[in-house]
Symmetry: C2
DNA sequence: GGCATTTGTAACTATAATAGTTACGGATAG
DNA sequence: CTATCCGTAACTATTATAGTTACAAATGCC
């Protein structure tokens, strides 16, 4: 979507085809991103989705938070036995460690924008294909 | 196990009871930790498991690596469509980002030992209970 | 030796999460 | 008015994880 920014919005079917999945799966994710104001979508004919911000202003952390249900870094739902000394406090300790870990993850993601991803995709600038030789 | 180091080995049933699960589940994990040389186990009567190293010499990274099947930070098994420019290279880019992320996670885990976890569990040193008032 | 106990492991079932599918109401462009 | 496309619900399929049962092999103890 970042690559086709400015032009027409992408349809869920196009995105789905590019990742070999079903349009509904894509729409579900796009819908979450829309709630986070990262993309905008339009219904109806000639509808589709596009980025709501310039690629340089969307970080992977934004995307991660929009999509994460909050249970990636979480403790086992079944609590330990509180008769045990360790069990009494271990959840607090592990919770603290999980926060350290997820903080580190978020630190990495916050530094990478969609634009950076595009740059990594293509060492050379985004098309305007200087020689028109490298794709069909 | 770190808390009962020096004394008798812990049986899988005891550990299982303390986390409200089945002994076999514990044995499976203990077995992986054993293959990583972090714990030793003994079969037979009076058997059980104990740490193979002092708690200060085992990091959470050691444990993580012993247990991780390698698929925590990994790409979707179904590859994208290579007809698409993005699909052609995105896996390489995402792979690089995943490495950055897991590197950050490992950095955090490498700094925390089992001994540190014990310290965080109990602000005061490991028992020898000075007043014998705080547990039953 | 014989017995009780415990690990290691296989085989199976149960439960839950994720992905994928079908269907349809509502919005929109032409 | 019609064709198209999103948002969403409801359902099925697939997979991963957890839990269970069972048993051979190892070990300590009498």
């Amino acid at each position: 979507m970042a690559r086709s920014r400015g032009s027409e919005p992408l349809k869920s079917g196009q995105v789905a085809a590019s990742v070999n999945t079903n349009p509904v799966v894509i729409r579900r994710i796009l819908c979450e991103l829309g709630r986070a104001r990262l993309v905008t979508s339009q219904t109806g004919a000639a509808g589709g989705s596009k980025l709501a911000l310039p690629p340089g202003e969307i970080t992977l952390l934004d995307v991660y938070r929009a999509v994460d249900a909050g249970d990636i870094f979480s403790l086992h739902r079944q609590p330990p036995n509180n008769q045990c000394f360790v069990g009494m406090n271990i959840e607090t300790v592990l919770g603290g460690i999980l926060e350290e870990v997820s903080g580190a993850v978020e630190g990495v993601l916050a530094k990478i924008t969609i634009e950076n991803v595009l740059e990594r995709l293509q060492p050379c600038p985004p098309a305007r294909s200087r020689k028109r030789r490298e794709r069909v």
